[in-house]
């Protein structure tokens, strides 16, 4: 059983570039779809799923079970892609680390958490709403007994979950361009990490260690991280103006209103659905 990605496959010179024939079949018993591929190889041209309820749903990860590849993400044929909700993209990644190296990474994160200026680049990448890294020790996977076998692993694992705006490519590009030193400091302890620059190898690595989201919810799908920051600035100024509105003369209010407009004019951008990206 192997897991491959279309990006990896397309870069492989041994892969024939003829387009395989895709068949989409919906299973009424479980309400999900299964894709079979006639001759099992594919390339980046396969970005749509002919005959599927939503042709945008084709994704890149397959689990090959014998001769019948199963497209995992086709199991979640909802309206929007499950990695995306409104303006937010959910990225999940998992990378193996030798256990002795995780202590170095813990020290790095400790420094990052306690020396606030070290977070400036992360804050300045203003399209990240929430992000987290979780180190799972090789014996740290939850084991509840009741028939569950404990894991027997050689590696510790680093989980990364990010909620960001814009596209996957823009995110990884910006990460590589702005945070390359920080990223290297975090991921250099993971096996086979190629470095965040040059970006081509970095993207290949992230694509390889990423796994897809099955369900993604956000309370404010129409708002980006910048929209949120702006909204709080407008709301704070608005509340201040409201507090004095009934107690001032019309002329005093007009002056205060002008100050309010000057304060918030750069923060009144429209929120709404994200533009379509190709």
């Amino acid at each position: 059983m192997g897991i491959v990605t279309s990006r990896k496959a397309s870069n492989n010179p041994t892969v024939p570039q003829s387009a395989p024939v895709l068949h989409y079949k919906e299973s009424p018993a479980i309400g999900v779809g299964v894709v079979s591929i006639d001759h099992g190889l594919w390339d980046n041209s396969l970005t749509a799923l002919p005959g599927s309820p939503n042709s945008q749903q084709f994704v890149s990860r397959f689990e090959v079970r014998g001769l019948e590849p199963v497209c995992h993400s086709c199991l979640s044929l909802r309206g929007p892609m499950s990695n995306i909700n409104g303006k937010v993209y959910a990225l999940n990644a998992i990378t193996p680390m030798k256990p002795w190296k995780t202590w170095i990474l813990r020290a790095v994160f400790f420094a990052l958490g306690h020396v606030k200026p070290l977070q400036n680049d992360l804050i300045n990448l203003s399209f990240i709403e929430f992000a987290r890294w979780v180190i799972v020790p090789r014996r740290g996977f939850p084991c509840l007994g009741k028939g569950q076998l404990p894991e027997e692993l050689k590696y510790d694992y680093l989980l990364f979950f990010s909620n960001f705006n814009r596209t996957w490519n823009q995110y990884i590009d910006a990460f590589s361009a702005v945070l390359s030193k920080g990223l290297n400091l975090v991921w250099r302890w993971s096996e086979k990490f190629p470095g965040s620059v040059p970006v081509t190898l970095f993207k290949e690595y992230i694509a390889r260690v990423q796994f897809d989201t099955d369900y993604y919810y956000t309370a404010y799908p129409h708002a980006s991280a910048n929209d949120l920051k702006s909204a709080h600035i407008v709301q704070s100024s608005f509340d201040s103006l409201s507090a004095i509105a009934t107690q001032s003369s019309p002329e005093e209010f007009a002056a205060a209103y002008l100050q309010f407009v000057l304060q918030v004019q750069a923060h009144l951008g429209e929120t709404g659905e994200a533009p379509a990206v190709g």
């Binding site: 479980i30 813990r106 939850p142 009741k146 949120l228 909204a231």
Partner: protein
């Protein structure tokens, strides 16, 4: 405390999924099938329950092999990953989930090892179960870490309404401006909180700028 950033809590839960050869379809597939039909909008379970900014549910099939010379290894269980960015304290949040959306919680987590027999109806057992599957976050970043979900939704509404008000009252005399503003602010106060998970009011004005 790495699980918190300001007033926002970063919850990470890995629940082992039942591995039963006799189950058809398998438990992980049943979870995926249920999640696939679950709304992500105003009627999402996480919009109904209080306190969730963003949340995801992911079936993690296995760890990923990155190639030689690293060792290839596999998990013995599949895990349901629940990643949530929520308000306040963990116990309060989990209790809110158990009280508001027990049917959904049971439908999802009943496929996991060790889930309480009575499900989320047994609130204390549910909270204890979720905590037993929790992983400590090593580093947690939040762009806005001091605002609750209702406060954020209110701010977004005010932002939209204020933009419309400013556009509609350009050049007004001070008396009209003050009168209309007081009326406008009072109206906004009486409105219920905007629904979580909605795309907000539909607007036809296109302003361009950094969001486009």
């Amino acid at each position: 405390m790495p699980n918190k950033n300001g007033s926002v809590y970063g919850l990470t839960i890995l629940s082992p999924i039942i591995d039963d050869d006799r189950a058809t379809p398998s438990h992980d597939l049943q979870i995926r099938a249920y999640l696939a039909q679950l709304s992500t909008r105003e009627d999402s379970p996480f919009a109904i329950a209080p306190g969730t900014h963003l949340a995801r549910l992911v079936v993690m099939d296995d760890v990923i092999y990155v190639g030689m010379p690293s060792c290839e290894e596999h998990l013995k269980s599949k895990y349901l990953v629940f990643e949530s960015n929520c308000d306040g304290e963990l116990d309060t949040y989990l209790a809110g989930l158990a009280d508001s959306i027990p049917r959904h919680l049971d439908a999802i987590w009943s496929h996991c090892v060790g889930y309480p027999t009575r499900g989320a109806a047994d609130r204390d057992a549910f909270i204890a179960y979720m905590k037993s599957c929790q992983l400590e976050t090593t580093f947690y970043f939040a762009a806005v870490n001091d605002k609750s979900v209702p406060a954020t939704l209110r701010a977004l509404r005010i932002q939209t309404a204020a933009a419309d008000f400013v556009a509609a009252h350009q050049g007004d005399d001070p008396v009209t401006l003050q009168r209309d503003f007081i009326h406008f602010a009072a109206q906004l106060k009486t409105l219920p909180p905007p629904p979580a998970g909605s795309m907000g009011p539909h607007r036809t004005i296109k302003t361009g700028g950094h969001n486009e």
